[in-house]
Symmetry: C2
Subunit: 348 residues, 2 copies
């Protein structure tokens, strides 16, 4: 059988913040598309989106939308994925799902190509794209794990509002303008739209992303903990996270403390190791005030790592500062990258 | 000898961001002042400041300014303190210095009243007020150390621009307005005014506060490390810090991981312990989305603690989220509080 050269691609949630970036990425990567189906909720159906200089009308996503689709990129919320991803898979599409709906299911690979591309081989129709804050962290940690072993990870995040969607970006802008005008703001959206309380994000920091779980950690924190273990195949890895929302539009940052297994590793060795690793750009030179920052990482596909320091008390401890565009490597680019790897591996 | 009832107080740096808060605090506390001398650099001399509804003219600070002064509150930068604090002390004033000039000198007490008030007894004329990010952390950690012992501290900070002075607040406001208008910004001030490079702080996070030291940590990070050990009298304490500047006007936040010595401590025990401790308000109820945030902590003297969770892997590990007004408990209030304790202890 001849290998397929181009593919019928469906994008579900085409009008959202991540959906738009998926379309940009497909276009920039010149992804081999024979047919493009843009799908959405009933509410957004009918919208026209420009792709490669052509107008494409967004259709309401139904089970039948996936007839003949080779690759379906889902980014329309967990409830949509739960209903429609199995329908798409049943019709022969390979689903790359950007929601949390299937991430922890044992027969669903949870993939960051730089880390566990081989897990794609075991897919059963649905592949999950990890949470944004998890992706950028494991890209930075995997080369370290391979070279020196990894025992412990303690992360504190500095997350952008775009992770909560286009309406959160709008809320940040409107609130900021209102504060600068000296007027009181009326928070409506963050930290969790469906939550009882909403707090100002302009000129503030909110230590809640997603709702709380029973152990006092938020779902966002538990995602980072559980997804990291699954992607790195390390159920025994000690991971902790504190996730915080900031008045930043795009670009998540993470202050991460790790402990490796090997003794005597130097910060310079980690710097060299990461600078040679796939998908990473090391920005780490105190003398030149060089370190990653979210504003400057926005729009780029790579994971940026800097402030690499050996702990002053623990020979096996290191501190890292990890930054990436949460809509690109944290979502759209990782999804499209998975699709590219599926093609490369002959799985589609 | 009869105990003095009111005091000649000098405020050095009266026109700065912290100086203004010192005056507010002296007024709000109804501090027993017999005479108030407001001092500044030559540049700001002549400015008129309102204190208790009276206009006070700011004078240029000279060695002679401190004749007859009982208590001198310094907040005009390290170089001013280095020259004038010894002059003030030589003239019989007790100096409470809010700069880093004398903090690590062995014969200078470094004091947070809730933690080590007794160190005031050994003063030799100069008492140092710790760094803002250190103060709020040790207020939260000291009750835990006393009850359960403390072995390890790993802090990641979320610091407001007001820590860099009034001109940094202005820079954040101007930049933010410029970005909202879609214009390019010209950073001039942060992260370090005298540094070669300046970065946008609006909608960004900058992982550099103060200049870098030779070990790759910044001075701000080394201040947190060294000052914490000195204040808590624990040279053996394992402390690490990553300090990050945010687009927040006032209020520093800290994501802090600690390890205690005692086994079997629960998060609820720490919650109860801290809620009974001096100077702390516990805001920690996930069910009600209750946790501290810098925007809401601004203007208050207390240290706010929430997100108290036991680590999922280490029985002795806990995560805390600590927030306080960096200009008040982090600077002005701690300085005035030291002055109040000096009076209470009969040291002035």
């Amino acid at each position: 059988m001849e290998k397929k050269q181009s593919f019928h691609v469906a994008v579900v949630g085409a009008t959202g913040a991540v959906g738009q970036q998926i379309l940009n990425t497909l276009e920039n990567r010149n992804f081999p598309i024979s047919k493009l189906s843009l799908l959405s909720s009933k509410r957004s159906a009918g919208t026209t989106v420009v792709f490669k200089n052509e107008n494409v009308t967004v259709q309401e996503a139904t089970p039948e939308s996936f007839e003949g689709v080779d690759i379906a990129l889902f980014s329309a919320g967990g409830s949509v994925s739960k209903v429609l991803a199995p329908e798409a898979a049943a019709r022969g599409a390979i689903v790359v799902d950007n929601t949390s709906a299937f991430r922890m299911e044992t027969d669903v690979p949870l993939v960051v190509p730089e880390v566990n591309e081989q897990d794609l081989l075991a897919h059963k129709g649905i592949i999950a794209n990890p949470n944004c804050s998890t992706i950028q962290m494991v890209v930075a940690l995997e080369p370290i794990r391979q070279a020196y072993g990894l025992k412990k990870v303690i992360a504190s995040t500095y997350q952008a509002v775009s992770g909560a969607g286009a309406s959160a970006i709008e809320e940040l802008h409107v609130q900021t303008k209102t504060v600068l005008e000296g007027q009181p703001v009326e928070p409506k959206m963050l930290p969790v739209k469906s939550g009882e309380k909403h707090y100002q994000i302009a000129f503030n920091a909110i230590p809640q992303i997603d709702v709380f779980t029973e152990n006092g950690f938020t779902y966002e924190e538990m995602k980072m903990i559980n997804e990291t273990k699954k992607i790195m195949h390390m159920p025994e890895l000690e991971v902790a996270a504190t996730c915080v929302r900031l008045p930043v539009v795009t670009g998540h940052s993470e202050s991460v403390y790790i402990e490796v297994e090997k003794e005597g590793v130097t910060a310079e060795e980690i710097r060299v190791l990461l600078s040679e690793a796939e998908g990473i750009i090391v920005q780490d030179n105190p003398a030149e005030q060089l370190y990653p920052m979210p504003f400057y990482a926005a729009g780029q596909n790579e994971v940026f790592v800097g402030r690499i320091r050996k702990d002053l008390n623990n020979d096996k401890g290191f501190h890292l500062w990890i930054v990436s565009d949460n809509l690109l490597k944290g979502a759209a680019w990782n999804s499209v990258q998975i699709a590219e790897r599926l093609i490369k591996l002959g799985l589609v």
